[in-house]
């Protein structure tokens, strides 16, 4: 079989010297991707500490650690930090790093714009953490009008908070343009849309969500500033609910924007560690497109209590339930990918399994909110807090952690330490579920969210204390992870270019990849170019057709030559 395997050395690349100047000026997508992740790590520590302080205040009823306004400042910073400056940069980091590698490109389409976007996001984060010096914002990350208006929240910090989000939002919007153009124009010869690796597919679809969702946020923040700085009264003399329409028209797609690339990561990991291609590629890919569309059509399910009238509520409840269908498709396809596979228990796979369990739990509790009358009872209680942490932390962040363990050898040339990694995994799983599982019960008991304290009622005290203690377990778990990430950079076992026996192009480049990514690309005839290289007698596109249980040939479309 004539295969053109490019020469890649298995020798460990020397740990890259940290050159600050290079870091600040680099326009290389890999450097930018890693910087995004580093920035996210810093903010994760900040947002995590804020969460722990809040949990301390809530550990016992009638506590006096953070009373009233003080608690609300932490609440605002925690929410804003986690959503905009932890999860978003992590996922943009992965997209930046992986998209060009997976499609066989040398870099993003607009490398300088890419660097500019990164530093806009960092600038936004700095502005956010400068805002306390001008009076901490305390209006909540959702910043509902009219509470966020000068009359009720006079601190200047709110203005800085808005500017921080506008600035970083521009950065992200520009990144979306970059992602879309890169995915559309820079694919290597033979990398058809229907051969894109799953992560690349989802990251690319995500570009559209970002492009259409973020401007809604920018617009509404500007309206808020027009109110606050110029006294226009759009949300006071006008309609206070208008804020919510704009905000959630951004805010709901935002959730999918934080979960779609995470799904992409999972869709890379499960096949490789089950030694099987993803089950139902087309269904997994197209369900992402369906979700991208639907994510804009469901936003008012955050507003069922507003009193829009129940016909409106029901319409949005229906679209919200519909989203469960493409989501369910994904989950069942992941399971089917493991079916009859050969599942290896590596750290990435463990995190992926935890992701599936936790994400499914969060998804199911999400459906309860689409059942409108249940939302009328449970919205704005701790049940919601539990639900969205299951989706965003147990889902999105766990998927990212899976991805970190999976791609770390690519990033650095070395493995993460296995022992530390397992400690981190179990601490994170136990801690996370400990914190948030019991909060479903608190919600059913009627504990409102966003309260700094609560009366000593039966059941509330024990559950809150349990939640707080678990929070510290989780904190230790994340700390172990960060230590591992830092130490293994120089101490980890050497990995080589393709440590997991992968199939997509990124495993073809050296670890860490050279500046221009690839020496040469193999011919691309299928979705798994490296499988074809490794199995010259069983290549995806020339393999004799297999038959399914009903005896019909499968993957016909795979066989056509290009």
């Amino acid at each position: 079989m004539n295969q053109r395997v490019p020469a890649v050395s298995a020798a460990p690349a020397a740990a890259p010297a940290l050159s600050w100047w290079r870091l600040f000026t680099s326009t290389d997508h890999k450097s930018i991707g890693l910087t995004y992740m580093g920035v996210a790590a810093v903010f994760l520590v900040l947002g995590g500490l804020e969460a722990l302080v809040m949990r301390l205040q809530l550990a016992v009823p009638n506590n006096h650690l953070l009373v009233g306004e003080a608690y609300n400042r932490f609440l605002t910073m925690h929410g804003t930090t986690m959503i905009f400056f932890v999860l978003l940069p992590l996922l943009l980091g992965f997209t930046n790093y992986l998209l060009p590698l997976q499609i066989g490109a040398r870099d993003m389409a607009f490398p300088r714009l890419n660097a500019f976007s990164l530093w806009l996001l960092v600038g936004g984060g700095l502005l956010l953490y400068l805002s306390p010096f001008t009076g901490s914002p305390s209006q909540g990350w959702f910043s509902y009008a009219p509470l966020s208006e000068t009359a009720f929240t006079p601190q200047r910090g709110v203005d800085l908070w808005s500017v921080a989000l506008i600035v970083s939002g521009y950065g992200t919007t520009l990144t979306a343009v970059n992602i879309l153009v890169t995915g559309a124009r820079l694919r290597a010869q033979g990398m058809l849309y229907r051969r894109l690796p799953m992560f690349a597919w989802m990251a690319w679809v995500n570009g559209f969500i970002i492009l259409f969702a973020l401007p809604c946020l920018t617009a509404v923040l500007m309206m808020l500033e027009v109110d606050r700085l110029l006294g226009a009264g759009l949300f006071t003399r006008g309609d206070p609910v208008l804020w919510q329409h704009y905000f959630w028209l951004f805010g709901h797609p935002e959730i999918y924007l934080l979960i779609l690339p995470a799904w992409g990561i999972i869709s890379e990991i499960i096949p490789v560690f089950s030694r099987k291609p993803i089950f139902g590629y087309e269904f997994v890919a197209w369900s992402s497109v369906a979700i991208a569309f639907l994510s804009f059509a469901v936003y008012a399910h955050h507003m069922f209590a507003v009193g829009l009238g129940w016909p409106v509520d029901l319409a949005f409840g229906t679209t919200s339930m519909l989203i469960a269908i493409p989501t369910g498709i994904k989950v069942f396809n992941w399971l089917a990918t493991m079916w009859k596979g050969s599942v290896r228990y590596t750290l990435p796979m463990l995190y992926a399994a935890a992701f599936i369990v936790q994400f499914t739990f969060g998804g199911v509790s999400g459906v309860t909110f689409a059942v409108v009358p249940i939302d009328w009872q449970l919205t704005d209680t701790y049940y919601v807090v539990a639900h969205f942490h299951y989706v965003l932390f147990g889902g999105s962040l766990f998927a990212v952690l899976a991805g970190l363990h999976y791609y770390y050898p690519k990033f650095t040339g070395r493995f993460l330490d296995e022992r530390l990694g397992r400690w981190g995994f179990w601490l994170n799983v136990i801690g996370f579920n400990g914190v948030f599982l019991v909060q479903h019960l608190l919600g059913l008991m009627g504990m409102p969210r966003r309260v700094y304290t609560y009366p000593a009622l039966s059941g509330w005290e024990a559950l809150n204390l349990f939640s707080t203690v678990s929070g510290f377990v989780l904190g230790v778990g994340l700390l172990v992870l960060l230590v591992n990430l830092w130490r293994s950079r120089t101490h980890g076992a050497v990995a080589g270019p393709d440590p997991w026996n992968g199939w997509t192009l990124e495993w073809l480049s050296s670890s860490p990849p050279r500046r221009e990514n690839f020496v040469a690309l193999p011919p691309l005839h299928s979705r798994r170019p490296l499988w074809d290289l490794k199995h010259p007698d069983d290549m995806d596109h020339v393999r004799p057709p297999r038959h399914d249980r009903q005896g019909r040939p499968i993957r016909d479309e795979e066989r056509e030559h290009r």
Binding site: G68, P146, V343, S365, W376, P448, Y454, Q550, I554
Partner: protein, 312 residues
């Protein structure tokens, strides 16, 4: 008051929601267990057993896909059907009749007024066994009215009048609270709904007589202090004249203060000691409250609390 109010409905408005919640819960649990079960089974059954070559490369199966899509569609269809049915039952039409009680949310307490002009705060009295129509609006920011045992919740929005039916099937005390983030004291914006068999919503009307205070008593002196040190600029006591013009928009009506169980949005139980604590350290007890800590002497605080405890 119940530990799991959502599962302990006390009204024909909340009960269908509870049933729907249980059905959804079991369906959801089923889906979750299916996924978690399959995952555990596959991870165990198909775990890597040494190098034995690659397993069969299966790329998908359209029949399977259609199978689980139809399964999901069926589940969603069932839920949708139940949703539509219960939505109408738990949120009946509010157009038409005149509201029985006007509710105004303030940072951070609830004011309840009947069309007759009787006003209370923090405690809503309704007749048991009859639906009561509320008209809700806010004096400042968005709040949310929630009494899970009696009805669905609804936001309370400035400039907008939302309406809500509530009902208590039998006499009792039901906990309510604000559910929408509304500022520093969102945590202490609780209230109680007290349903009794006396079939009226009546409280003291605007012209009900002032409480009779024994001349020269601490309470009588307190009433004077109340008028003079600006308490009455923000608080009304019906039947009591005031030297200060006020529109009732700032502080809760205190007409029946002594008969209330809780005060200040639920921070304190209503006892003379707590009243004194409140007057002495207002901003410490409820930081950010719209009531300032007033410069009062111990004697004045004592008399004021005697007066307030006389307002039956």
């Amino acid at each position: 008051m119940s530990a799991f109010p959502v599962f302990d409905p006390a009204s024909s408005l909340a009960r269908p929601i509870t049933q729907l919640t249980s059905i959804t819960f079991w369906l959801g649990l089923g889906v979750f267990l299916l996924v978690a079960g399959l995952l555990s089974w596959f991870m165990w059954r198909y775990r890597h057993r040494g190098a034995g070559g690659e397993p069969a490369q299966i790329f998908g199966n359209t029949r399977d896909e259609v199978g689980w899509i139809l399964g999901a569609v069926a589940l969603v269809g069932v839920l949708l059907f139940l949703t539509v049915r219960v939505a109408g039952q738990s949120s009946p039409d509010t157009a038409g009749p005149n509201p029985d009680v006007y509710v105004t949310a303030h940072q951070w307490y609830w004011a309840f007024r009947t069309p007759g002009g009787a006003e209370t705060a923090g405690e809503l009295h309704i007749p048991a066994g009859r639906r009561v129509l509320l008209d809700l609006t806010s004096a400042d920011v968005i709040h949310d009215f929630s009494v899970p045992q009696l009805a669905r919740k609804i936001d309370v929005i400035p400039g907008q009048h939302n309406r809500l039916w509530i009902e208590a099937a039998k006499a009792g005390t039901y906990a309510g609270e604000c559910n929408e983030f509304c500022g520093p004291q969102h945590a202490w914006m609780r209230f109680r709904v007290i349903a009794d068999d006396a079939a009226s919503l009546a409280g003291a009307g605007p012209d009900s007589p002032a409480p009779t205070l024994v001349a020269g008593s601490a309470a009588a002196h307190g009433a004077q202090v109340f008028r003079e040190v600006q308490c009455s600029a923000c608080h009304a006591v019906q039947g009591q004249t005031s030297d200060f013009p006020h529109d009732g928009a700032v502080g809760p009506d205190l007409t029946h203060f002594a008969s209330r169980q809780l005060m200040a949005g639920g921070v304190l139980t209503n006892t003379p000691a707590n009243v004194q604590r409140w007057l002495k350290h207002t901003q410490q007890v409820k930081p950010g409250a719209r009531m300032p800590t007033l410069p009062l002497s111990d004697q004045e605080i004592n008399d004021l609390s005697a007066y307030l405890e006389a307002l039956k």
